[in-house]
């Protein structure tokens, strides 16, 4: 088998390379790099000559032990690294970790204070994301497992799409969020709302008590009075804008068309700008495959006998799903939701330009407000800090909080999932 030979050769070469590189890095700490390279070359060149001197049995044992040693060492490297990483981050952030850190906003140009707005922003983000994503993902999974036949082209296509969607880079979702949610949907909503507003204005302008009757021109004060007489709070933005119009126009009278075009020029995006709603919807799309896969697994783990018993009792398919399948797969749905939340809390790329704010001490109040987020806060502190030394403890503490958050979520999900799997095996 030429293929097998080639694979074995590639693998041997790769592991030797790894051995060489790690040896090189180890030596390079003490020696200049060319000396380290020389030592390694010498070892590699000398190895085949010494090797043949051993008996076959010794060679076998030696190679076995060496292999176990090397592979065990690599496994150990991973474990040690993870442990080191956690301890490192905890120790460096420890000095900042306190309740006041968690519950106060950042101050002094992000070099002091806490991360409260970021925590609230992250929480709101994942809550809106779960509200949007988990039901849709669950229902899609139910459709896939219960209604779509396994062999049908549609079901296979959907499954393929879901699987590949899981591998699409997060930044592409961010692009979609910016282009579609903000650029298309948000702008459309703005235009729609504005057009409706202007229709209201037109009908006010032709109504009986309108100042525009007569020569169809009105002074700015008269228009303001008209708005205030109609609905003081509803026309707040327009009344504000009229003040600017008055400063420009003075005593001069304006027509309806002029007022409309002035309002158009003054229009500010409301939905068509980055906001927590669009960021959460983008994130919901990103986590949709996670939910679908996890719920599908749970639904499949509901024992067949239960379903058949329900059917045998005369329950219809929908009744069976509602009172047997869904309650039975509740853990799986929960697992999917938790995994999605954990992914959503850690992912930064999709919200880079769909709603995360650099610095915003006020908590988000509406669906259209921007927000601070833990991961984005780490990114900002790392790359755009004004005073690196002052930010460092804050940075490590923030990272520690984010890590603890994702770990708690992940391990809850893993625990629940292991219960689902155990039932599947039974």
């Amino acid at each position: 088998m030429a293929m097998k030979e080639r694979i074995r050769f590639t693998f041997a070469a790769a592991s030797l390379l790894l051995l060489g590189v790690s040896l090189f890095l180890l030596l390079a700490v003490f020696l200049p790099w060319y000396a380290a390279l020389g030592v390694i070359t010498a070892v590699v060149a000398a190895a085949p000559f010494g090797w043949r001197r051993f008996s076959l049995d010794t060679r076998r044992k030696l190679s076995e032990n060496m292999f176990i040693l090397v592979s065990g060492a690599t496994a150990l490297i991973i474990v040690v690294f993870v442990a080191y990483f956690l301890v490192h981050i905890f120790l460096l952030g420890q000095s900042q970790l306190s309740w006041s850190f968690l519950f106060s906003p950042p101050t002094e140009g992000l070099t002091e204070g806490g991360i409260f707005p970021a925590i609230v922003g992250t929480a709101l983000l994942v809550i809106i994301m779960s509200l949007a994503g988990v039901p849709v993902g669950t229902i899609t999974a139910i459709y896939l497992t219960e209604y779509a036949s396994n062999t049908s082209v549609i079901a296979r296509f959907i499954r393929f799409a879901v699987n590949t969607l899981a591998g699409v880079p997060a930044i592409v979702f961010g692009l979609f969020g910016l282009g579609f949610f903000i650029g298309t949907l948000g702008r459309q909503m703005d235009t729609f709302a504005f057009d409706q507003r202007m229709d209201d204005f037109q009908s006010l302008a032709v109504a009986a008590g309108s100042p525009f009757t007569g020569d169809s021109r009105a002074r700015v004060e008269e228009i303001r009075a008209m708005f205030l007489g109609d609905d003081a709070t509803g026309w707040r933005a327009e009344v504000e804008q009229l003040r600017i119009l008055q400063e420009l126009r003075g005593e001069e009278e304006v027509t309806v068309a002029e007022v409309t075009s002035f309002f158009t020029a003054q229009q500010r995006p409301h939905w068509g700008q980055p906001s927590i709603l669009w960021a959460a919807l983008t994130m919901a799309l990103l986590t949709l495959p996670v939910v679908i896969v996890s719920v599908e697994e749970a639904i499949k783990s509901v024992p067949r006998d239960l379903r058949e018993a329900s059917m045998a009792l005369g329950a219809t398919k929908w009744k069976t799903i509602r009172s047997v399948v869904i309650p039975g797969s509740m853990t799986g749905i929960l697992t999917g939701a938790i995994l999605a939340v954990s992914r959503g809390a850690g992912e930064v790329a999709p919200i880079l330009f769909t709603g995360a704010a650099y610095y915003l001490p006020d908590l988000p109040t509406a669906l259209t407000s921007q927000f601070m987020e833990l991961g984005y806060h780490i990114y900002v502190l790392t790359t755009q800090s004004t005073d690196v030394e002052a930010t460092k403890p804050l940075l490590y503490a923030t990272t520690f909080v984010l890590l603890m958050l994702t770990f708690t979520l992940n391990f809850t999900a893993i625990f629940l999932r292991s219960r689902v799997r155990a039932r599947m095996l039974r």
Binding site: K4, F11, V172, G183, F407
Partner: protein, 443 residues
């Protein structure tokens, strides 16, 4: 033949029967065959179907949308932009409509309206804050400091070429405004020359924007390959160790360790690469730039190790036990078994792991954005700063003008990323998994 009386379904809602002809037509036959028709059930099932199709429609929409927006790079923006940017065009200049565009904002206004805000004010009112102050008081902080001390850290570093590029840009300024659509030629071929040598330059924000995708692609490939070269041996060896040799306690430790590593948000890995790894790498190698492709690659390796490990371990554990036992019974040592039986048998799975890892690293944004230095250079040196495709989107998308050429090019990069990761996943999914199954099931 005696038939049982038809069993009545548990009535939970008032049955509506018989259904109208229209409702019968709407109902999919398998859902309703020989059964009583319940309106609530019908509605529930239809809405499940509708929502499922909706979510699939959204998935497809992502596809189409990214591609559709990418076309803004190739559209002719001259007409689009004419309302914002004056264009030298005699026809529009002579027409009355065209004139409006060129008129100053104050055209037709009364003098009072466009007077500066300070008109008629006393001189004291609009004096600058520093008026009358001693010179020492409003000097910049760097006054009197030697020039070397307040130069930015990058001063003089490869500066000659950057300055030359800028100079050449200003010379070749006669080409029209910066909203020209790009061509595939400009995206893929050399778009500039320095001392007669063709250069690939990504310089989207300048007088003459240059959009060469080559440095970005090379950068992404470089970081990804470095990441894979580091991660693959570690992850594969560890997977073999865990599935073949490891004592039980080691397995118990390894699983959560890998889970934790997989649970690291990429921004945390990027932060670690930037703060710690970069310093370590620079002190060992003495690299000129603190943030470079190698540091980025190390970060990528951390992100990719869990993927490769998990998939490889999965593939190794699906190798039938009989193969392993046969090998050991024939007198092969455990490592020979692992090396000559298990690994070749699981090769498609290992390939799948590598492909998935490649896809993940290629599209990874935050690590690349934070740890690679973000300089779009084409070179073979792994200690040079690079800029990857995903990082470019992440860094530039927030400042870009909606529906401009730059916007289109960034979406094009997104589309390319999409296509690459999509096809890699498809290969891993279809080709590799099928082959793995075929090998073990002998079908």
């Amino acid at each position: 033949m005696n038939t049982l009386p038809p069993s009545e379904p548990i009535p939970d809602e008032t049955p509506v029967r018989p259904p109208s002809a229209a409702a019968r037509l709407l109902v999919h036959p398998p859902l309703n065959e020989g059964k009583t028709f319940y309106l609530s059930e019908f509605l529930a099932e239809r809405s499940i179907q509708a929502i499922a199709f909706l979510s699939i429609a959204i998935i497809l929409a992502i596809f189409f949308y990214v591609f559709q927006e990418a076309t803004w790079a190739f559209r002719d923006h001259m007409q689009q932009a004419s309302s914002e940017q004056p264009v030298e065009d005699n026809q529009t200049r002579n027409s009355e409509e065209g004139m409006e565009e060129y008129r100053p904002a104050t055209y037709g206004m009364e003098e009072e309206e466009y007077r500066p805000a300070t008109y008629g004010m006393e001189e004291e009112e609009y004096r600058p804050a520093t008026y009358g102050m001693e010179e020492e008081e409003y000097r910049p902080a760097t006054y009197g400091v030697e020039e070397e001390e307040y130069r930015p850290a990058t001063y003089g570093v490869e500066g000659s070429t950057v300055e030359e590029r800028q100079r050449e840009n200003s010379i070749s300024l006669e080409t029209s405004g910066n909203n020209d659509s790009v061509t595939a030629r400009q995206l893929l071929l050399a778009n500039d020359t320095i001392h007669g040598i063709p250069e690939y330059i990504w310089q989207p924000v300048s007088q003459v924007p240059k959009y060469s995708l080559v440095p970005l692609f090379v950068g992404a490939l470089k970081v990804t390959l470095i990441g894979l070269v580091i991660a693959a041996p570690i992850a594969i060896l560890a997977a073999i160790y865990i599935s073949m040799f490891a004592p039980r306690w080691m397995r118990e430790i390894m699983k959560p360790a890998i889970e934790i590593l997989a649970g690291f948000p990429s921004v945390v890995i990027g932060f670690f690469a930037l703060m710690t790894l970069a310093t370590v790498v620079q002190s060992i190698t003495g690299a000129q730039y603190r943030l470079n492709a190698f540091v980025g690659g190390l970060g990528m390796a951390l992100a990719v190790i869990p993927i490769i490990f998990t998939v490889t371990e999965d593939a190794l554990s699906t190798v039938p036990k009989s193969m392993k036992e046969a090998s050991i019974a024939l007198g092969a040592s455990r490592w020979q078994t692992a090396y000559r039986v298990l690994l070749p048998a699981a090769t498609p799975g290992v390939f799948a792991a590598l492909i998935l890892g490649f896809g993940r690293a290629f599209g990874e944004t935050m690590i690349a954005l934070m740890a690679t230095g973000n300089a779009a250079l084409v070179s073979a040196d792994i200690f040079e700063s690079v800029r990857t495709m995903a990082a470019t989107i992440g860094a530039e998308m927030a400042e870009v003008e909606f529906h401009s050429v730059h916007y289109g090019v960034l979406f094009l990069i997104g589309a390319i990323l999409f296509v690459i990761t999509f096809s890699l996943n498809a290969v891993a999914e279809f080709f590799v998994r099928k082959r793995l199954l075929k090998r073990f099931q002998g079908t």
